[in-house]
Amino acid sequence: MEPIRVLTKNVGKPGSASIDTYISGGGYESLKKALKSTPDELVQLVKDSEMRGRGGAGFPTGMKWSFLPKDSPKPRYLLCNADESEPGTFKDRVIIEHDPHLLIEGMIISAFAIRSCPMSYIYIRGEFHHGAMVLNRALDEARAKGFLGKNILGSGFDLDITVHRGAGAYICGEEMGLIESIEGHRGQPRVKPPFPAVVGVFGSPTIVNNVETLSCVPLIVEHGAEWFKSFGQPKNTGPKLYCVSGHVKKPGVYEFPMGVNLQELIYEHCGGITDDLPLKAVIPGGGSAPMLTPAEIDLPMNFDALMKAGTMFGSAGIIVMNSSTCIVDATWRMAKFFAHESCGQCTPCREGTNWMETILDRIERGGGRPQDADLLFDMTDNIGGKSLCALGDAACGPVASAVKKFRDEFIYHIEHKGCLPGTKRYRRLDMPVGAH
C-alpha cells in the first residue's frame, strides 16, 4: 500500500499554517458548499461516509451526532478534543501546527451540522503551547475573513471558537474529564450515564470529537462519502494518520488509507528496526493498547482487525520495541504513566494502577517474588472493566498482555533478579523514586 497525502496535503508547503496557503489549495470551499445544504443532509453525509472517530474508541461519528436529543431546549456544544496525550501519539499535533485551518473548517462545518450554539471550544493540552499559538493566529485570520463570527458567509449561522488550554492531565482527554475541565472543575471524569450527548458541558447536549475526526469532515463534504469510503475497508474507511515511534529507523507520522499492513508499515515504510535487531514487541494503538508479538503483526491496521487480534487500534500510535528492550522495564514505564495520570477518584484505578507500578518496579529492581506474575495478571482483571472511566482499562492493556505474552521474561527477571541477557533498561535505577 502506498502512502497518500490527503489529510496532510498542505503539510510541508511553505507557510502551511496561514490562511492564504490554505485557501490557495482550495480551502474553505467545503464550508461554502456545506452552508448551502442543511444540517440533516450533512449528518447523513457523515453517516454515509462510515467514518469512525479517530480519538481511539472508533465510534461512528455520524451516529454520535445523531444521538443529540431532538427536543432539548438547551444549547448544543461542539468540543474539539485536542488533548493528545496518549503515549506514542502525535498525529493531531501535525494537523494543529501545520494545517490548523483544516481543523477550523471542519469544526465550523460540524458545528453547523449539529446545530451548535455560537460558541465552540478546542481543548488543547497545555504542553502544546506552540500549537495553541498557531491555532489562535489561525482563528484570528478566519475571523478576519468572515469564516467565523456572526452570519458566516451570509448563511445566518453564527460561530466562534475558543482555544482552551489544559493544565497537564492525561485524564482531561477523556471526554467527561475534558468537559469537567472546561467547566472549571477538577479534571476528573463523571460517571456515565448520562452521556455527553444528553448532559455534557454546562449541562447541555455536547459532542466531543477528535482533531483528526473533525479534519476529515471538510474532505467528506468536498469529495463525497463514496470517495471517502474508497480508502480502507468496509466499516473502517478513510485516510488515517499513523504515528510510528520507538525502535524503527524512520519514526514519524505516516498517512495511509485505513488498514495498512502493520508489518509492511514497520519494515518497508519506516525502514525496519534500528540496529537491525529482531523485533520484540509492538504496541499498535497508543500506550493503552495491549502488546503484539512479532508473530502477530501481519494484520491490517484498522479497528476491527486489531480488536480481533486482542488489542486495539486506539489512536494508531505504534510503538516498536526491538530485542534489546527489557519488557519488564517497558511495562513498568507504561504502568508508571497510568499510575501518575490516574485522577484518583475511583478505587480500582487509584489503588490498582499504583500497585501494578510498585510491583513492576520491584521486579525490575530485583525484588520480584514468585507470585508476582500471577498477581499482576489477576489484578488486571480486578481493574479492567471495573473502573469509572476507561483509564483503568487502558492501564491494564500493556500489563496484562506483557505478563501473558512475555511471561518467561518476567519469570527470568524474578528468578535471576536482573534483565534477560541481551536486553537493557532505559532508565537508571539509582535515581531516587519520583525523579524520572
Binding site: 492531565a169 477538577r186 476528573q188 463523571r190 460517571v191 456515565k192 450515564p193 499510575a339 501518575h340 495520570e341 490516574s342 485522577c343 484518583g344 477518584q345 475511583c346 478505587t347 480500582p348 487509584r350 489503588e351 490498582g352 494502577t353 499504583n354 500497585w355 510498585t358 510491583i359 520491584r362 517474588r369 507470585q371 498477581l375 489484578m379 482483571d381 480486578n382 481493574i383 472493566g385 471495573k386 473502573s387 469509572l388
Partner: protein, 533 residues
C-alpha cells in the same frame, strides 16, 4: 413501577430508582461506600458493581436506574470476584488500625471487609501514608486521619450539597489524592460533625467523642434532640448513666440523615453536678429530705392556698404528658391563674429535611406542646411579670425546671422569684435558683424519661427512657402525680404507674389526638398535634 429480578427474587419498585435502592425491596444488600441516598451519585468506590443481563461489563448499582424487566445479579461468581478485588484495593493502603480506631464497630469498611474481603492480603509492599496527616484537626469538631481515607468523597459532597459551604476538596491526584481543606478555611459550619457520620471509615471522627468509648459498649436509645424546636430524631448513646454522644436517626421529614453541631453536642450540658435527692429549706439551710416528706409539704401548702396565689413557671423541656398533668393539677384542680411556660429565643438553626429547610428558633423542644396543653395565664400574672417585677403576693410558686431560661441564673430574676412565699423548684442540676428554693426536687433529664414532644411542624414524636435516673430523680409527671395523690388520694386519674397510661388519658381528653395510642406513634412521628404559641 418497574418489575425487576434481583438474585432471582421478583420485586416491583418505582421507576427510575437505582439498583442499590431497588435491591432493598428484595432484601438484598448491595454494599457501597460512596453512594449516600441524600447526596449526588458519583460511582467512585466501585463496591456496588452488579451484573445486569444484557450488559457485558459490570455496572455500578448506584449509577444504574432500574428498567422494567431488568435482571440483576448482586451475588454471582463474577460479581463476587470483582467485589473482593475492590475490597482488596481499598485495604492495601488502609492502616488496618481498627484496635485504636474510634470508628471500629460501626465502620462500613470493617464490616464489608469481614463480609466481602479476603482473609489474607496479597499486598507485600510499603503502604502509602500521608505523613503528618494522621491526626489533623480540620475543624472545631472534626479530626482527620488521612491514612484511613478511602476517597469516597461523601464528606466533600456533604459540604458542597447540603451545607453549601464547600470547605473540603480533593487535592493532588492518583494514589496521592487527599481530602483536605483550603489553608485557613476549617470545616466550621453549623453541621460540620455530620461529615463524621457519613464517613465510612475512621478518617473523620468527632473530636468530642475521640477515645471516649468503644461504640459497642454504648447503649442506644431512640429519642428526639431537645436542643431546639426542630426536634431532630436521634439515638442517645449512653452507658452507666452517662451520655456519650447523639447520633442522627433517619427521619426524612425532619432531619433526614443530619444533626446540627449545637444539638449534637448539647448533651455536654448534662455533664454537671446533678441534683440527686430532694432538699428542703430548714432554718435557712437546704438539707436532704425524703420524697414523701417533700411532697407532703408541697401538698399541704397547696391545699391552703387559693388559685390566684398559686403560680407555675413551666419549662419548654416538659413533655406533652408532663404539661397535660400539670394543667390538670394546677389549673383545673387548684385553679391557678398564673401558670405560664417560658422559652428562650435562639439564633435560627437550619436543618435540611428531604422536603426543604426547617428552622429552629426556640431553645426548647416542646414550647408549642406545653402551650397547647393549656399552660397559659388566665387573667393572672405571666412568667415574664414574675421574673421582672417580682412574685410578691404569690404564696406558692412552682418552677418545673431550674434552668427554664438562661435568665434564671441572674441574681435579679432569682431575687424576684424568691419573693414568692413558698418556692418549689424542680431541677436536674445544681442551679442558683434551686439553691434559693424552699423545696428542691430532683428530676430526670429527657434521656431518662419517656414522653412526647411536639416540634415546629406540629409533629408528635416519642422520646424513650434510656439511661437510668440519677440518684432519686423522678420524671416530672411522676412528681406531679405524687402531688396529685397527696391532694386527692381517691382520684382515679392519678392511679397510674406508666407514662403510657398518662398518654392514654391525655389522648382521650384531647380531640386532636383521638384514636392515637402510644405504640401507634410511628417511627417518623405523627403530624397534626395541637400547637400553642
Amino acid at each position: 413501577m418497574a418489575k425487576v429480578t434481583i438474585d432471582g427474587i421478583d420485586v416491583e419498585v418505582p421507576d427510575g430508582i437505582n439498583v442499590v435502592e431497588a435491591a432493598k425491596a428484595a432484601d438484598v444488600h448491595v454494599p457501597h461506600f460512596c453512594y449516600h441516598p441524600a447526596l449526588s451519585v458519583v460511582g467512585q468506590c466501585r463496591m456496588c458493581l452488579v451484573e445486569i443481563d444484557g450488559m457485558p461489563k459490570l455496572q455500578a448499582g448506584c449509577a444504574t436506574s432500574v428498567r422494567d424487566g431488568m435482571k440483576i445479579s448482586v451475588h454471582n461468581d463474577k460479581v463476587d470476584k470483582a467485589r473482593k478485588g475492590q475490597m482488596e484495593f481499598l485495604l492495601i493502603n488502609h492502616p488496618l488500625d481498627c484496635p485504636i480506631c474510634d470508628k471500629a464497630g460501626e465502620c462500613p469498611l470493617q464490616d464489608y471487609s469481614f463480609n466481602y474481603g479476603a482473609v489474607a492480603s496479597r499486598y507485600g509492599d510499603v503502604k502509602r501514608t500521608y505523613p503528618g496527616m494522621d491526626r489533623t484537626p480540620i475543624g472545631p469538631h472534626v479530626m482527620q486521619n488521612m491514612n484511613r481515607c478511602i476517597h469516597c468523597t461523601r464528606c466533600i459532597r456533604f459540604c458542597d450539597e447540603i451545607t453549601g459551604t464547600g470547605e473540603l476538596a480533593f487535592i493532588k491526584r492518583g494514589a496521592s489524592t487527599e481530602v483536605g481543606i483550603f489553608p485557613g478555611r476549617p470545616v466550621d459550619n453549623w453541621m460540620s460533625a455530620c461529615v463524621t457520620d457519613v464517613c465510612p471509615t475512621g478518617a473523620l471522627t468527632a473530636r468530642e467523642f475521640r477515645f471516649e468509648s468503644r461504640v459497642w459498649n454504648l447503649e442506644s436509645t431512640e429519642s428526639v434532640c431537645n436542643g431546639c424546636d426542630v426536634g431532630c430524631n436521634i439515638f442517645v448513646e449512653h452507658r452507666s448513666g452517662k451520655i456519650y454522644r447523639y447520633k442522627p436517626r433517619v427521619n426524612p421529614e425532619v432531619n433526614d440523615y443530619w444533626l446540627c453541631d449545637y444539638g449534637r453536642f448539647s448533651h455536654e450540658r448534662y455533664e454537671t453536678d446533678r441534683v440527686v435527692v430532694p432538699r428542703m429549706m430548714r432554718d435557712d439551710y437546704q438539707s436532704i429530705a425524703g420524697w414523701s416528706e417533700a411532697i407532703d409539704e408541697i401538698a399541704s401548702r397547696l391545699r391552703t392556698t387559693s388559685g390566684d396565689k398559686i403560680a407555675v413557671i413551666a419549662s419548654s423541656q416538659l413533655t406533652n404528658e408532663d404539661a397535660w398533668l400539670l394543667r390538670q393539677l394546677f389549673i383545673d384542680r387548684l385553679g391557678s391563674k398564673n401558670a405560664d411556660v417560658v422559652v428562650d429565643d435562639i439564633a435560627p438553626i437550619r436543618m435540611k429535611s428531604r422536603n426543604g429547610w426547617l428552622e429552629g428558633k426556640q431553645a426548647g423542644p416542646n414550647f408549642r406542646g406545653v402551650r397547647a396543653a393549656g399552660i397559659k395565664p388566665t387573667g393572672g400574672r405571666s412568667a415574664e411579670e414574675l421574673m421582672t417585677k417580682g412574685a410578691d403576693g404569690i404564696d406558692v410558686l412552682v418552677v418545673t425546671e431550674a434552668a427554664f431560661s438562661a435568665r434564671a441564673t441572674s441574681a435579679e430574676v432569682i431575687a424576684n422569684l424568691r419573693k414568692a412565699r413558698f418556692l418549689v423548684v424542680l431541677a436536674w442540676e445544681n442551679h442558683p435558683l434551686a439553691d434559693a428554693a424552699d423545696v428542691v426536687l430532683p428530676t430526670t433529664i429527657f434521656a431518662e424519661k419517656s414522653g412526647t414532644f411536639t416540634n415546629v411542624q406540629g409533629r408528635l414524636q416519642k422520646i424513650v427512657a434510656g439511661s437510668l435516673p440519677k440518684g432519686e430523680a423522678l420524671p416530672e409527671w411522676e412528681i406531679l402525680r405524687r402531688v396529685g395523690v397527696a391532694l386527692a388520694p381517691d382520684e382515679v386519674s392519678y392511679a397510674f404507674s406508666e407514662v403510657e397510661e398518662l398518654f392514654d388519658q391525655m389522648v382521650s381528653k384531647t380531640p386532636a389526638l383521638k384514636s392515637l395510642d402510644w405504640s401507634g406513634i410511628e417511627q417518623f412521628g405523627v403530624t397534626g398535634a395541637p400547637q400553642g404559641s
